[in-house]
Amino acid sequence: METAVFIVCALIVLAGAIGVVMSRNPVHAALSLVATLFGIAVLFLNLGAQLLAVVQVIVYTGAIVVLILFVLMLLGVDEDEDLDAEPIVGQRILAVLVGLLLAGAVLAVIILGKDAAVTGAHSATEAISPSIANIVQIGRQLFTTYVFPLELTAGLLTIAVVGAVVLSRRPKDLQPIPEPESMTELGDDPLTTIPEEAAH
């Protein structure tokens, strides 16, 4: 049963991931991302991490993807983009090569190492107990062993919120970014220019 759930979810996760990378339309990419995140939530359940599965659905699909979709709609960049254009020669092939190398190296470690691929002390902080609720165990560790990092994340989130407000404030003198002379002198192509009549 566990294996069957894993196979189905793995297929959904991989299909969604390929959909994110290959979609011409950014909205389709965002919806593929939802499929992937849901698949991972079910895999979390399969691994016995109930709290994480719920948080995954609430935080990722409920907040992060909605935020991404909101910005997509706000900017109006929901038209198809041309994926055939390849501005940097050989970029695709090199990127796929890097990806294959990365996956191959990690897979080699996993396949050759078998269970020895994972080293470290067993149950160093707290063993996963089937009799205690998942959320109780996580909460206890968060507020004892990991209380310092937990306080630091509070600061991180505050800084992120302040940064987002500062960044998205509308400046008074909004100017298009000019073409720097030094770069045209170096023989670079000019940046994509904003059509005058199409400016919003």
């Binding site: 960049v77 078998k114 269970d115």
Partner: protein
Amino acid sequence: MSPNLPLAYLALSAILFAIGGVGLLVRRNPLVMIMCVELMLNAVNLTFVTFGKMLDDISGQVIVFFVMVVAAAEVVIGLALIVAMARRRPEANADDLRLLRG
């Protein structure tokens, strides 16, 4: 349950991480690039939970919380940057943002 299922989880997250990395390198739309970073972070989360199960330790799941917090902060800042950038150049993609090169 087959004994090597945790290794299958690790293999899945390795492939997922690689797909996200390729997407980050190939795509030029900054929003899609952020989604690819999310893919990579989720692959890492899956690895952490699997390690936690293999080592019978709850810490694997606690770390995922911190990763999620960092991912949320990263998305907020990334989207704010994209909005600020799109105000000046509505059609810009990642290749057009060469000014950071100095």
